[in-house]
């Protein structure tokens, strides 16, 4: 039985592709669907966990069905509806549809048919069977926070780095990364990226052992630089995609804004030898979810909240979820200070120079794997015989 991770070839050989959809368009549909789930979730005050779970269901669904046959926005609603129940933050189907109605153009809402609720309900059974009732999904967020707690260094800089990494994790939902790599690896890669962009070099960390070349060696084994670079580029590529030209096919207005021209430096070779450090910071457009809300209506949604103020790494404020999900979400900081997200202005202009021409002194031990990575056995060894801990003690 296949797992939920696919190699790049499989990602190009989806049911949609088999039915004639080109890869670029499929990626755009995936991005739009994910974006729509994030926007709808945000409007409904659903937490980042619920939203991310919905997005993962969405990506998995289209590994078995085509976009041609299942319109993406109906599927997106259904995924969010199911994720709400699974993560103990249930929302009524009709309320989700109401939000969708507001977010979508008439033309797009037509796909919901005469009885939108019935449409979503029917799809829920298909969705459940398609995702094998694998309801529990883990996301990079929790690992990001866990790892960040171990890093030593300037607190302000660390905070900034975590904040940027968090934004990258948000945006990574719009890619197919969750179909390729475990959340732990995505977290490491995007912290690596954020570290570079925010000029936070990790020199020391809690629990360091002599065999650890990099801080992440403590958490995941055998990550190669090529792999990290590849993951980072998949996220960075999001920012280099021009806005769709045809207005009829464009994503919901709230989700897009014109992006800067494509970054030439991201035209990377297939061998993955190009390093992130070669991207000019000035050309890095803002991440996708940087609609600037007026300070008065800063959304409560953690995505945005965190973009403004990531949680302090030492002390956590209460979670505001009515019913905590099985996986206690990392508690969020209180109301964010009304400051503009730092990444709006892009990383500081002098982030790069120190790195240019200084690729990390790190030689990959093994070539980057093509299939599902061997880094984690899905059944982690139990701490004591017969006991398996699923939730790390807080």
């Amino acid at each position: 039985m296949p797992g939920w991770y696919f190699d790049k070839k499989e990602l190009r050989n989806t049911p949609s592709a088999a039915a004639g959809l080109d890869y670029k368009t499929e990626m755009r549909y995936r991005k739009e669907g994910a974006r729509f789930i994030i926007d709808t979730g945000m409007k409904m005050d659903l937490g980042y966990n619920t939203t991310a779970t919905g997005v993962v269901y969405f990506h998995r669904f289209y590994m078995f069905h085509s976009f041609q046959q299942f319109p993406r926005y109906v599927t997106a609603c259904c995924c969010l509806f199911l994720a709400g129940k699974v993560e103990e933050t249930p929302k009524k189907c009709k309320d989700i549809i109401k939000i969708a109605r507001n977010l979508l153009t008439d033309q797009k809402f037509v796909t919901f048919g005469a009885d939108p609720k019935e449409e979503v309900m029917t799809l829920e059974r298909i969705l459940l069977q398609t995702i094998k009732f694998d309801l529990q999904v883990e996301h990079p967020y929790q690992f990001l926070l866990k790892y960040a707690k171990c890093l030593k260094g300037d607190k302000t800089k660390l905070q900034k780095m975590v904040q940027m990494a968090w934004t990258f994790v948000n945006d990574s939902l719009c890619t197919t990364l969750c179909l390729q790599w475990e959340p732990e690896i995505i977290a490491v890669a995007l912290m690596y990226l954020a570290g570079k962009l925010s000029k936070f070099e990790v020199m020391d960390w809690v629990g360091r052992a002599s065999k650890h070349l990099r801080w992440w060696d403590m958490f995941v084994e055998d990550i190669t630089m090529d792999l990290l670079e590849d993951i980072c580029h998949q996220v960075l590529d999001l920012y280099s995609q021009p806005a769709p030209k045809s207005p009829s096919d464009s994503p919901p207005p709230s989700a897009t804004k014109p992006h800067s021209p494509p970054i030439q430096s991201t035209s990377r070779q297939s061998n993955g030898s190009e390093k992130i450090a070669h991207i000019s910071p000035e050309s890095l457009p803002p991440p996708l979810n940087t609609r600037i809300p007026p300070p008065s209506e800063v959304p409560q949604f953690p995505y945005q909240t965190f973009t403004h103020a990531p949680p302090p790494l030492t002390s956590y404020a209460p979670v505001s979820f009515a019913a905590p999900p099985v996986n206690t979400p990392p508690p969020m900081a209180g109301p964010p200070p009304p400051v503009a997200p730092p990444h709006l202005a892009g990383p500081p202009p002098n982030v790069y120079p120190p790195y240019v021409g200084h690729p990390p002194p790190f030689t990959p031990v093994v070539p980057p794997p093509t299939g599902p990575p061997p880094y984690f056995s899905n059944g982690m060894p139990p701490p004591t015989p017969g006991h398996r801990q699923y939730y790390p003690p807080p």
Binding site: A19, F70, P90, V319, V326, H387
Partner: protein, 391 residues
């Protein structure tokens, strides 16, 4: 494979009829059809549906229990309670927790309006503890009782360690295989909990746990509860191993509290600091001047002094002072002679499945009152040497 209905136009979504056809023909790779199992008999009624014993057609020696997910009257699609149970069962993999094999579906067709019925499929367990206790011919030695309780507490230790509350501990939800392996079952009311040290109290529903096994904190309206609720049930079950019937059979929440006070002593801020803050503390009638009689009243049954001491530590009014699973497992009761011993040999004398549902009159009142079970109508079947008595 699945694209045979695709019309070729990239934006032509299916209409309802095409979708129905698509569902009928799509071979969901991960969700097999329930027809791979042959239903044999109805063996119970869970929190959200009927339970059947069935045989794996491709492996006729393999028996399973199939729990139907009731989806009628569901305005919000697949029931959240079923999703919760599935998710929890998928997480919990332990010898003393019932094993969820898979989730099956009936094929969607015009006959079911293209709506599959779903079944949770479990490893089959021959007995449940309530059924065994109701059979006077089943006699447990002290070592065997220790084995039962040790496995029960092991299961609880494991689920609590994984931050899950069972919330429906009772003898009928404790299954035992013919080899004597105990399995906690029916996670239909279970939920995850977190240690709320961030200052935000939990607001769980207190309408959980079958009345006779419900701990005093729930009866007094506590919503910020935790693992001790399951340990109270474990205490009730422990006593039942000797008394053979539930020890406190109240017929109302008020009466249950009275019975608890009569056994465990008066409920007041002296015996239980903070109890005065519980929502129903002033609303319920709490008999005062009651002496604690746990040891006195149960000594004639339990006899073993270690057993009485452990029971005394489980049936503690104040949940914060109640023994947790780990403490209970370390109690001398489990580490003194006679040591816990295997149940398989004793159970080998009994070749008839014993389920509470199938037991004659003993628990009829309990069944009717608390879980509105209907009597099954399936006829008896014979297989694997186990006869399922059904009425």
């Amino acid at each position: 494979m699945q694209n045979n209905h695709h019309s070729g136009h990239p934006n032509s979504a299916m209409n309802m009829r095409e979708k129905e056809k698509y569902i009928e023909n799509f071979n969901f790779p991960f969700c097999e059809e329930s027809s791979k199992y042959q239903k044999l008999a109805k063996i119970g009624q869970g929190t959200f549906g009927e339970v059947f014993k069935a045989r794996d057609i491709s492996n006729p020696k393999k028996f399973v229990a199939m729990k139907k997910v009731l989806m009628d009257n569901e305005k919000e699609g697949f029931p959240i309670t079923a999703l919760r149970e599935i998710r929890i069962l998928q997480l919990l993999k332990h010898d003393n927790v019932v094993n969820l094999i898979e989730i099956c579906r009936t094929k969607a067709s015009a006959a079911n309006r293209y709506r599959s019925t779903f079944y949770l499929v479990f490893d089959f367990c021959e007995h449940d503890l309530a059924g065994l206790l109701s059979n006077v011919n089943v006699k447990f030695s002290l070592g065997e009782i220790k084995k039962v309780l040790q496995q029960l507490l092991n299961g609880l230790y494991y689920i609590h360690y994984n931050k899950i509350l069972h919330r429906d501990m009772k003898a009928a939800n404790v299954l035992i295989t013919k080899n004597g392996v105990l399995k906690l079952a029916d996670f239909g009311l279970a939920r995850a909990f977190s240690n709320n040290k961030n200052g935000m109290p939990n607001r769980f529903t207190n309408r959980v746990v079958t009345l006779w096994y419900r701990p005093p904190e729930l009866l007094l309206g506590e919503r910020n509860y935790g693992p001790p609720v399951d340990l109270w049930g474990a205490g009730c079950i422990m006593a039942e191993m000797w008394t053979r019937s539930p020890i406190m059979q109240g017929n109302s929440e008020q009466q249950q509290l009275t019975l608890i006070s009569q056994l465990c002593g008066s409920i007041n801020p002296q015996s239980w600091p903070g109890v005065e803050n519980l929502e129903l503390y002033k609303k319920m009638e709490l008999p005062q001047e009651q002496k604690r009689k746990v040891k006195e009243r149960l000594k004639p049954y339990l006899k073993d002094p270690y057993a009485i001491d452990l029971l005394d530590k489980l049936l503690v009014l104040d949940p914060s002072k109640r023994a947790d699973a780990d403490t209970a497992l370390n109690h001398d009761f489990f580490w003194t002679d006679p040591m816990p011993c295997e149940l398989g040999k004793m159970l080998a004398n009994h070749t008839q499945s014993m389920f509470e549902l199938l037991a004659p009159a003993r628990r009829a009142t309990q069944i009717n009152r608390h879980h509105s079970m209907s009597r099954p109508t399936t006829s008896a079947v014979q297989d694997s040497g186990y006869q399922d008595r059904v009425f």
